[in-house]
Amino acid sequence: MPFIPHTETDIQAMLATIGAPDIEALFDEIPPALRCGELEKIPQGMSEMEVGRLMNARARQDGQPLCFIGAGAYDHHIPAAVWQLASRGEFYTAYTPYQAEASQGTLQLLYEFQSMMTALTVMDVSNTSLYDGASALAEAVLMAVRANRKSKSKRILIPRSLHPAYRRVVHSIVRNQGIELVELPFDMESGQTDSLVLEQYAGEDFAALVIPQCNFFGVLESVDELTDWAHANRMLAIAVANPVALAVLQAPGEWGEQGADICCGEGQPLGAPLASGGPYFGFLTCAQKLVRQMPGRIIGRTLDLDGKTGYTLTLQAREQHIRRSKATSNICTNQGLMVTAATIHMSLLGAEGLERVAAACHANTSKLVKVLSALPGVGPVFKGAVFHERVLRLPLETKDALRSLAAHNVLGGFDLSADYPELGNAVLVCATEMRSDEDIEQYRSKLERVINARIQTPCKLKPDW
């Protein structure tokens, strides 16, 4: 019996204490007609060795291709110490620190996390995480609608250049509360949010403007102007930021005259492996005046009976287990372990380490773009400056190009044609600090081969692979 320690003697003694003839008798309050029989569709159990064999085969099956996809999940070096420490049973198998005296390790770590995130974003306060970047933005939108005292509006301005999956997630989560997302187009030349279009909305009633830095195309937005414009029009400014980029980019708390009001984003670049998309974590920081509208757990520093420093869950009156239907959010379990990893990760890298990682990603992507742009028909789509991703135009259908590259075990980027048909044959590429010059050359030579094959056999509908 996997993981069950009972001996036959234990079982008999325990049943005798209870006064039940057998274990089955303990289920006598369940109406017999409801009982299920054997779970026939569930396979028989396996030993650790057998399941190990199965999982090793499955993991190998996916081949570990050379990856140039970013699009919201980035392949960074994770120091060996990060997961060795985060996997310690004392972190891995604890739960939400309800009993503060027995959870000071997790609580202090979370307080340190809050401190690091406020330092990185230059905002006043941070919570201890939400599920991921996209759902964190949804919570930020709900928070803005609650918090904006100058506007009763339930409309939000969201740029089309924001990650398409984020726009979908926000819509799924906020639509049932009657919140409407109004899409802002981008400038086809620069890739930035179109400031002329923005002016059309001046004076209209919106709760908030969402400002991604950088946007989905990797392009840097004019965040000072956007933030000031939002405030001039009585909107809150919600920043969506990549935490590694923040090591080198202007902090949201310093955008424009007053800074952004809320900042959120995907925490994955801080120590979480790609791992098929999760678990990651969403972060959320905000101005002091909004702290009581924040969703999720918040840790405070306080004193114990002897005047000794300690850490505890605080402002719990915002939360579902106290306020029930009047809570700021339904969130309960968050992404604690990922935050544990991120805190250790940030401690190891420090501001300078993160800056070096960010600079290396920027330089590598610039190199990749330069090398690929030497191929016929390949070149950047937008003129705007980028951080570590860029949109490239291809001389053949993106889907076909990526499929052929994948057959050579190269994942050549994110296909933009479904979400942005207006961009034509476009691909979003990313080379983090993990990609070497040889990797970049590998991509170039494979893409060259794919393009040449296409030029030589232009009528062929499907590539050879």
């Binding site: 996997p2 919201g72 330092a119 980019l249 002897d306």
Partner: protein, 483 residues
């Protein structure tokens, strides 16, 4: 001491970042950061020592008995972590093409199928990231179902007064009003009160079974009939699925939609507060609305189902495919248990709970529902001790910490005064349960002979009781350099 306070200007963990600062001339000055972030500057060994020492200030399943009711703190098998962390799984980009994802997708498809079989539901989506997100998805599907039928007067979700706080909070996030149903003196829902509030405005009801008071809702079939007759749907909060795995299935009880907390029943780690995973299962009529993405089988291949081929879906709840790594851990656990292991989960968690309940009541504690069988958990009420000895539930909870036992859930559900919700789980041995009874007996004696000792507990932990009022009044939420 905070990691920030161990910092020295210029100190670094040099091995962990690129050796040189690369050129950033492509980023114009107007976009650049003005001042480096105030992060700690420490060596690698300092980091390792600091966080190792912090970890030692935690109670955890690996180090302590952790009978936290409603949270199912059972042993988390090491194999689940090791195998889900194989390089091939960690390296897979969430947007990798299906050609390079068949191994991972196979695991996800089979997990969907096993969860369907274990719960008796028609279809399952794995995407919700936690129980509360599963609840949100479930209620959003209820709403999508009514909306699709043009039935837009249903604006009310019912939930027992003992429900988890997430239930009403999730219903409100879906735009519903919430009405509470009283729990009867025997722990079952007050069916007469339910009849009184069902009507054309009822969108659905959210129930946990066994309920949050730790007993099986015996009239569930009748309740399902009444709610369905009124045109409402039934939502199953899977927090207590551990109690009935392989014994009775939510689908057979008449539920239309459920969520499962894989970090409880399927033994993935709680991680100091997550990540969890909250897959949802539905009956046939709600199948079109399941959140995306899902995995389907197409001949020999596994394929993703997304917004593109599931137009009526309530949509996407996270950027990618939910907490995939947690799902892998649950899959590995499920494969190790197999079909026989699953019903043993219910059997031994129930055996442990009933044994512990009997021994504690024999030792002089009061059960909140003495006439009832315990499920996988049960409630003690310390009302008598609080009145007679002036020692309340929180005092007992804090004193337990001194004996190296994590406290059970306290003061939940709210309707039982001075309550402790105790869930031992199936992975604890009889001797550990006996030790817990001994400790509780000792604390009871202390409460009688030396109540101050209990009221001022804990005494042997890194800190004594903390000033929560001060924490909320003089907010100190982040370390600042100039403090």
């Amino acid at each position: 001491m905070l990691i920030f306070e161990k910092s020295r200007t210029g100190r670094r963990a040099t091995a962990q970042a690129p050796l040189q600062l690369a050129d950033m001339e492509g980023i114009p000055a107007q976009f650049r950061r003005r001042q480096s972030a105030a992060m700690p500057e420490v060596s690698e060994m300092q980091v390792v020592r600091h966080y190792t020492q912090l970890s030692q200030k935690n109670f955890s399943i690996d180090t302590h008995f952790y009978p936290l009711g409603s949270c199912t703190m059972k042993y988390n098998p090491r194999a689940s972590n090791t195998l889900a962390s194989l390089p091939g799984f960690l390296a897979r980009h969430p947007l990798a093409p299906e050609t390079h994802s068949q191994g991972f997708m196979g695991c996800m498809y089979e997990l969907q199928e096993m969860l369907k079989a274990a719960t008796g539901m028609f279809a399952v989506s794995l995407s919700p990231a936690a129980g509360a997100q599963g609840e949100f998805a479930g209620v959003a599907m209820i709403r999508a179902y009514h909306d699709a039928r043009g039935d837009d007067v249903r604006n009310e979700i019912l939930a027992p007064d003992a429900a988890h706080g997430t239930n009403p909070a999730s219903a409100v996030m879906c735009g519903y009003k919430v009405r509470e149903i009283p729990t009867g003196a025997n722990g079952d829902i007050d069916v007469e009160a339910l009849k009184g509030v069902l009507g054309p405005q009822t969108a659905g009801i959210m129930l946990t079974n066994p309920s949050t008071v730790g007993v099986f809702e015996r009239r569930i079939k009748e309740i399902a009939g009444l709610v369905h007759e009124a045109g409402g749907l039934l939502y199953y909060d899977g927090a207590n699925l551990n109690a009935i795995l392989g014994k009775v299935r939510p689908g057979d009880m008449g539920f239309d939609v459920i969520h499962m907390n894989l970090h409880k029943t399927f033994s993935t780690p709680h991680g100091g507060g997550g990540p969890g995973a909250g897959p949802v299962g539905v009956s046939e009529r709600l199948e079109p609305y399941l959140p995306v993405p899902m995995v389907a089988q197409d001949g020999e291949d596994y394929v993703w189902l997304t917004e593109d081929n599931r137009s009526e879906s309530i949509g996407r709840l996270s950027a990618f495919a939910g907490n995939a790594g947690v799902l892998l851990r649950a899959y590995i656990y499920a494969r190790m248990l197999g079909r026989d292991g699953m019903h043993r989960v219910a059997e031994f968690s129930t055996l442990n709970a009933n044994y512990l309940l009997k021994r504690l009541t024999d030792a002089g504690f009061d059960a909140a529902y003495p006439e009832r069988r315990a499920s996988h958990e049960f409630i003690l009420t310390l009302k008598r001790q609080a009145r007679e000895l002036g020692v309340n539930t929180m005092d007992f909870a804090k004193r337990l910490l001194d004996f190296g036992v994590h406290a059970p859930t306290t003061y939940f559900p709210l309707l039982v005064p001075e309550c402790l919700l105790i869930e031992p789980t199936e992975t604890e041995a009889q001797d550990e349960l006996d030790r817990f009874v001994d400790i509780m007996t000792t604390i009871l004696q202390e409460a009688q002979n030396d109540p101050e000792k209990v009221k001022s507990a804990p005494h042997g932990l890194p800190v004594r009781r903390l000033d929560d009022v001060r924490a909320a009044r003089d907010l100190d939420l982040a370390w600042k350099k100039d403090r």
